[in-house]
Each structure stands twice: as structure tokens, then as C-alpha cells.
Symmetry: C2
């Protein structure tokens, strides 16, 4: 009996028409049947947001070869939930999110809709990967991703991921001849420091635009994703979703609690 072709679900947060997701389709087409369910417009920074108070709609926008593409009015996580629960004929064998236009290294992982989609796949027991390149432009250079993403995906197919783990893969801005290799590393400690830009609209009302810079708390630490990327390595961080601070549990157990009644 012929083995079933793997079913690969794709999503992202830059929207169904972005260059990144179409590059990803091209990379993964040889490995199985592709179903894309992605936001109809850009949903960057949507993190793990879901749509509760509004309905969500889905439109099939194209179908060719072994590729079917749906757009969704919701967030990246909505797209994954709808795909798994309504649109796909069976649970997908893999979920791949991206390729994101812009970095999702360090703390950006918690703001990223692309990683939100990958984490949602992971929560549902689907081996999941998020790919990002450190180039935010619409016409980002995906050369490195084209060279390496297939191999990383093949490793996930062949070696499996530990249960409850997905991958956050970031590609630096570099070229195939200059890249030094792949580093499996940890999430850098850092924070985005915002400096909102305050403007006045034509009706004389104030509004704010979000701007900001990333602050790396440990630029010298060589086992981090930011170090890898700054030194021309591809960074792979295995991600899990237990946020418990086990170290803090004991300390907080010793507190005294009085109730006010």
C-alpha cells in the first residue's frame, strides 16, 4: 500500500499574499501536500491572540498542483485552529509558519504571530516550525532560507521533535558562501524598549505610533540566538510552553498570607 503523502499546514502573520509564505510553499511542495491557511492581511505582532467576540471567515483563494490556499479574516492562531478543526481532511502531519519578514529571535517570540501559529500547532501535538529572516522588507531576501529550510524540515520529518516542543528558526542577513552554519541555542534575555511617537491629527487630536529598539541583556552570551545571528549563524531555538518559574515556587510558598474580611 502506498504511504499517504504527508499533509503540511502552512500559516504566517504577514498575510497570505506575502513573499515569505509563497517562498515556503516552493520549498515544501516536494515533501507533501500543502494546505495554506493564513491571514488575509498582515497580522504582525498578534502573538497568540484569538478572535472571540467576532466571527471569522475563510475564503479558498487558489488550488494548483498539490497546493490549496485559504485566506482567513482572523489572526494566525485563528487560522491554525480553523484549519485543524474545519478545513483539513485530517490532522496535519506538520505545521510550518512563515517565512516571517523580520526577526523572531529573543523576546520577539512572544509578540510574533508567526510563532503564535507554530506554538498552536505544537499545542495540538503537530510537529511545528516557525521560520523567520532578519529582513523586514516586503521583498526580503530568502536565499538562505531556500538553501536551509528544506533540510531543517527533513530533520523534523525524520528525527521527530520532542513532545511539546516546536522550533523557532531565524536566518541572519547573509549569503550561502558567508554563512557559518547552524547553532541550536537558547532564547536571549532582552526586551523591546518603546519610544512612542506622538502626533496630532488634522482634527487636533493626539495619537501614538509604536516604535522601539531591542535591548539585549546578554550580548556576550555565545549560547543565545542573538549571538548566533550576529555572528552569521542560523539560529534554532527549541520552544516549549510551560511558563512556570520552578525556581520561584519555593520562595513564594514561604510567604505569609492574611485575609481581609
Amino acid at each position: 500500500m502506498k504511504k499517504k503523502n504527508p499533509l503540511i499546514l502552512l500559516s504566517n502573520d504577514d498575510g497570505v499574499n506575502s513573499k515569505g509564505i509563497h517562498t515556503l510553499i516552493d520549498i515544501l511542495k516536494p515533501y507533501g501536500d500543502i494546505v495554506v491557511v493564513a491571514p488575509e492581511k498582515g497580522e504582525s505582532g498578534k502573538s497568540h491572540a484569538i478572535t472571540i467576540n467576532l466571527p471569522v471567515r475563510v475564503t479558498k483563494i487558489s488550488e494548483y498542483d498539490n497546493v490549496t490556499i485559504f485566506s482567513c479574516t482572523g489572526t494566525p492562531v485563528d487560522s491554525v485552529k480553523l484549519a485543524i478543526n474545519q478545513l483539513l481532511p485530517r490532522k496535519p502531519d506538520f505545521l510550518v509558519s512563515g517565512i516571517n519578514h523580520g526577526s523572531n529571535a529573543s523576546i520577539s517570540v512572544i509578540y510574533s504571530g508567526t510563532m503564535g501559529a507554530a506554538i498552536e500547532g505544537c499545542l495540538n501535538g503537530i510537529p511545528s516550525i516557525g521560520f523567520s529572516v532578519l529582513d523586514h522588507s516586503d521583498d526580503a531576501d530568502f536565499g538562505l532560507a531556500k538553501a536551509y529550510a528544506g533540510s531543517i524540515f527533513k530533520n523534523v520529518m525524520e528525527n521527530d521533535l520532542p513532545i511539546g516542543t516546536c522550533l523557532n528558526v531565524n536566518f541572519p542577513v547573509s549569503t550561502i558562501d558567508k554563512i557559518k552554519g547552524i547553532r541550536v541555542c537558547r532564547q536571549t534575555r532582552g526586551v523591546w524598549k518603546e519610544e512612542y511617537e506622538k502626533r496630532i491629527d488634522p482634527h487636533n487630536d493626539e495619537y501614538y505610533w509604536l516604535t522601539g529598539d531591542f535591548h539585549n541583556f546578554e550580548p556576550e552570551a555565545k549560547d543565545t540566538d542573538e549571538w548566533a545571528l550576529a555572528n552569521k549563524y542560523i539560529a534554532i531555538v527549541p520552544i516549549q510552553v510551560d511558563l512556570t518559574s520552578y525556581e520561584a515556587i519555593k520562595k513564594i510558598r514561604d510567604w505569609a498570607y492574611d485575609i481581609s474580611i
Copy 2:
């Protein structure tokens, strides 16, 4: 010299007019100066989402005693970022988010806008707490929160939180005479399983409503927040934001990578 009154920033995801945040104002007023910056409408399920492609607006809606209240058109995390960077006279001494109408235990922590706000405070080095009650109704019973939240906040004031840690506090549906106490515990392993409801609108187009049930993967584990809540304890989970799966790093380092060029 008189010691400065602590500056306490409040936010939530149910919106600035919800009963939960006004209960929280009443609880925390005795401890310092209160500034509320919260979404103008319900932003449940917004996770750590930020608003990038639209401007955000803020309106001062009231000022009385030692309380100032702003509404914000953005997400809970936008509200916190704007408060810290534009609205407050100085970095707040504490951030308290909630009181959320509905549970944020187990994996709900990653979908929750209330916890998104608390985590954003934590990332900025502010001792932060998210409070939630297991009652989703607009008129939720905050009796237990009124009895215990002040004491938990006082512990954070007096004992400090470990750096990079915030608290996820959930109150079960119970009463002061029936509650068994407080348990400091870990995040339960579990997942929300969605069953979208598909409907047809008056124009004959399909749309979907998100519905779902929580599946607890470890209902017998007594060190989890879900067990504590089911057994009439208040659950406190210390939360941190390093998502790295340290166990998986070694395994994935052993993979072989071939590049396609």
C-alpha cells in the same frame, strides 16, 4: 523625608469599564497612587498582541482621590507600553492586571490579554501580578479576590519577586468560609480543543464562531493550578518568559543538515 507613595499601574483585558478592574482599584487604593490604563473595550484573548500598523489613542476618563483612569484604543500590552513610556510621571513600582472575568490557569496564560499585560510589566522590570476569577460573567463574584488579593499584593511589596518573574493568580468559584487556602503551583499541561460553530449569514455566506473546551492532560497532578482550583484553593503560578526547551537543545544539535543550492 516622607517616602513617596508607591505608583501602581493597573490594566486588564476586559476593558476599562469592567467590574473586575474597578474591584481591583478598590482593593489597591490603600496601598498607593493608582493609574489605570486599560483597553476601552473588551480585548479578551489578545495574548501579548501589540498594535503596529495602526496608531493608538488614549483618553483620560476620570480622576478622583488617588486614582487616575485612562482608556486606550489598543490591546492590553499596548496599554502597558503607553503607560510606561508616555502617560506615567515615572516607572511604576507595581503593575497589577485584572481582575479577569474568567480563568487564566493552565495554557490559558498564553492566550490571556490580562496575563499579557502582567508579563509586559515583568519584562520591563516592574513587579507584576495578574488576578483572575473562575467566573466569566459580567457580574462575576469577586468576594474571594477582595479577601485575598490585598494580602498577595502586600507580599509582593514586602518580599519582592524574583527578577524576571510575575504572578498568575486564579481564584476558584467559592466563598471565604469554604476556601481551603493558597497553593503556589505550576502551570497544568493542557490544551483548548476547538469546535467551531459554522453558520450561514443572511447573504448566504459562511462564518465561524470559536467555541471550545479545555482538556487537562494531567488531572491527577496535585502540584498544578488546575488541581488547586478544582479543590477550592487559590492558585498562584510564578511565571517567567524564557520559552527555550533546554532538554531539547542537545537532541537537536545532533541532527545532520544538508543544504540545497
